[in-house]
Symmetry: C2
Subunit: 259 residues, 2 copies
DNA sequence: GACAACCAGTCATATAGACCTCTTGTGCCG
DNA sequence: CGGCACAAGAGGTCTATATGACTGGTTGTC
């Protein structure tokens, strides 16, 4: 097996004094080979032993790098045979929570917003339950039409516990990225989210805002986002134009949950 | 920290001669404590060192067990502080490919089917491309109305490369579980799938089959499933009643991809 | 030619020990 | 009393080593 692990290009060896972990450097190198086509779908990734020998690391470190490819879904292992590159490519951005702005930027579109409302209010029952609040506790309510490449894409209604982000009304320019402000100014990092999608049709008011015809197909998303400690930080209801978006999912089949 | 790792119930120690890996036994034990409420959301999981000392395993093994909880999404680690139980519970069945039958059984509904078509045909362009076939190569086509708890839930059109499952027309009773037959009789195991969901409205013919009104909201799913080696095994188009289903997603936010 | 035994290569699991960074609490000193 | 230093405890990374189990091919026998 003559997989080149850098032969000829071996000026790019590992940086053992970097703060970047060795296994991560190796992972990136393997991903690069897959991206570039040097490793094609179905071909075996270099074995743990080969990586360990070639790069002068322990087998456990090589193993950690290879295993991470499996976790990412770009490869799969077969005991006794080897580790092979998965069929379809796709490497990031699945299974991740991304804010609207981040998602648009990731795919090269320009995000913009039209702010419809930005105020403190009392939550309704559904919001209070999702955010684990008493109805007396106030929330920040933000309603925006989100625009991608100059055309409306969705209407988004965000609810945040006011207690967790005091003075947000002054600190946040509401056409920008909310996640960025929450992270940078309040130290609130979204860790995980539950999201429910429903198929529906647009109401008259929605259709007007989205510039589509009434009763056109739309997605309705309901998302609750949580901090590391499990505390709800955000409850969002959004309505996406059905003609401008799809929900893409990558599913794996692991009936036994390993590692 | 007085987390009981089995104190009093320590008759249930680890089985070191079992074929079940130690880390998996530990993982299951921790999951059980979370399920039972002995470990609540936000509380720290026993530290790696504590597990290692209590159960007499190495720290690496304890670590593997704890880490697996993070991969499952039921816990999260903070360097220098500890590993903590995540807020919302949910433990399986996300991120997994499930067949219709499996999914219905998992939630306690009774799956049934009404077969509309089951035959060999030539693929159209879209199907041929998805399954990596030439238009000359035949496929098995199966169209069913899938029924859950006595009411129609979706219309499903499945396309399989005929080459991979010869004599399926004779071997498969088409109201049963296709994945089961593919696995048991042909050794074909679905490993991964890409799925796209779109929001739409029902056509007249669909509405009739699903027993809903015309132009009611529906989901349209397009799924391509792959074997371990990346070979496409199945292409499915399905139309789900919007009033009877939701798409639930659990997303995590890991901007740095670890392990 | 069929079948069993063996072997080499591979991943899976497990152990022990080392060193690092990060967080938190404690206690001393100014 | 405030602030700094330090130690303890936690997870993160890495090395070295060993054993087990599965796969595929080879070899040898019948």
């Amino acid at each position: 097996m003559s997989i080149q692990l850098g032969c000829g290009v071996d000026t790019a060896t590992l940086d053992r004094h970097s703060v970047v972990p060795l296994y991560y450097q190796i992972q990136q190198r393997l991903l690069e080979q897959i991206r570039s086509g040097a490793l094609k779908a179905g071909e075996p990734v270099p074995s743990e032993q080969e990586i360990a020998a070639r790069l002068g690391v322990s087998r456990m470190t090589a193993r950690q790098a290879v295993k991470s490819l499996c976790h990412l879904g770009v490869a799969y292992s077969q005991r006794g045979k080897g580790t092979f590159v998965s069929g379809a490519k796709l490497e990031k951005n699945f299974r991740q929570v991304l804010s609207f702005s981040e998602e648009m930027e990731a795919r090269g579109a320009q995000p913009r917003s039209r702010v419809l409302a930005f105020k403190r209010i009392h939550p309704n029952e559904q919001v209070a339950e999702a955010l684990h609040l008493s109805p007396a506790e106030e929330i920040i309510f933000l309603r925006r039409v989100r625009i991608a490449d100059s055309a409306p894409l969705c209407i988004e209604a965000t609810h945040l516990p006011a207690r967790l982000c005091p003075k947000l009304l002054e600190n946040f320019e509401p056409s920008g990225s909310l996640y960025r402000v929450l992270g940078e100014r309040y130290g609130l990092q979204v860790h995980m989210a539950d999201e429910v999608a429903e198929a529906s049709v647009a109401t008259g008011a929605e259709a007007k805002l989205l510039r589509i015809r009434g009763r056109s197909p739309v997605f309705r998303f309901t998302r609750t986002a949580y901090l590391h400690n499990g505390q709800p930080i955000e409850f969002v209801k959004s309505t996406y134009r059905g003609d401008r978006c799809k929900v893409v999912n990558r599913l794996t089949r692991q009936l036994e949950i390993i590692s």
